[in-house]
Amino acid sequence: MKCKRCKEKAIVQLRSHNAAFCKPCFTFFFQRTVERAIDREHMFAKDERVLVAVSGGKDSLALWDVLVDLGYQTEGLYLGLGIGTYSKASEQKTRAFAEKRGLTLRVVALDETEDNLAIPEVAATTRRPACSACGTFKRHHFDRAALDGGFPVLATGHNLDDEAARLLGNVLHWQLSYLAKQQPVLQPTHPRFVRKVRPLFRTSELESATYAFLRGIDYVVDECPNSHGATQLVYKDILNRLEHTMPGSKLAFLTDFLNRGQPLFAAGPDGQLGECERCGMPAAGELCGYCRLVAEVGRRRAQAVAHS
């Protein structure tokens, strides 16, 4: 198989683009795709500081690598979820990535907080799905770190497969409010929020994994133990079967939605947000989602003590 650009021996085939690339041309293709996404969606400029949320996985580390290589001003943010050996390995690889490249990494460890808010502990105490608690905690700490650090932009490593799976889930359940917000750039709806961007929204998981491998990025290959049976994986499997039969379907599904469907759902701005009485972050009610969850942990722990 020959590289589409230079005709040398190819090392990766991208059916969705009806193309194959050698190592240098794939690296060029991947970086150019990300750069075009940033420019066309007006995600951020070279003079803006970008906080990159990194998990130790292929997508977020590939994203950080690309942004650094393209000359953007970045710092990393790692949120330690306290999920046993999985979190330990993730943190170790993230720290090693940053140290090797001389990059600044901020670390917030949930299991080292005063209340021990590690995800397994919170999920067990509240009887919520771990992924639900994890999402709430990530949103809060990402927002908080970006605000406290004075970053105008927060970038995450969500890729095309993530976004297409999310779209499928939103369409299956006609989640109108979620469809209205599903965009690669989310502008702040409150002065204490920052712009949130997803520069990898046009690149597939195969592309980000290939990029990470070719760049020698030592990422966590293991999956989060809580992801087994996750609904998102079911959606991804369905989309991969469709993609296998009709290459390019995933990209068309997402980009056609963004170009033609999403504007129809984005009727207007969110309702007016106030500020959380406990932490001061934006909230629809008296408390934000994060503080409601933390309060629930406290309540249930008190009940458990009272009944023991």
């Binding site: 198989m1 990766v12 999402g135 293991d222």
Partner: protein, 66 residues
């Protein structure tokens, strides 16, 4: 040939010279959902592997809620 499936950490043995695309398909894996790695190189579907090779099939799909 020796094949390591990641992230499962599973090791299997397959005999004979095979086209990479056919090998992946014969294991019930959808093309494009794994990287086929031999040493420090990636293999495309049209290449061949045989009994002397040791390869890794590394899944590229990650899950959960971000």
């Amino acid at each position: 040939m020796q094949i390591r499936l990641e992230p499962q950490g599973k090791q299997i043995t397959v005999s004979g010279r095979k086209r990479v695309g056919d090998l992946v398909q014969s294991l019930g894996i959808l093309a494009g959902t794994v990287m086929v790695i031999r040493g420090d190189e990636l293999l495309t579907d049209d290449e061949f592997v045989d009994d002397t090779d040791s390869i890794e099939l590394r899944a590229v799909i990650s899950g959960g809620v971000a």
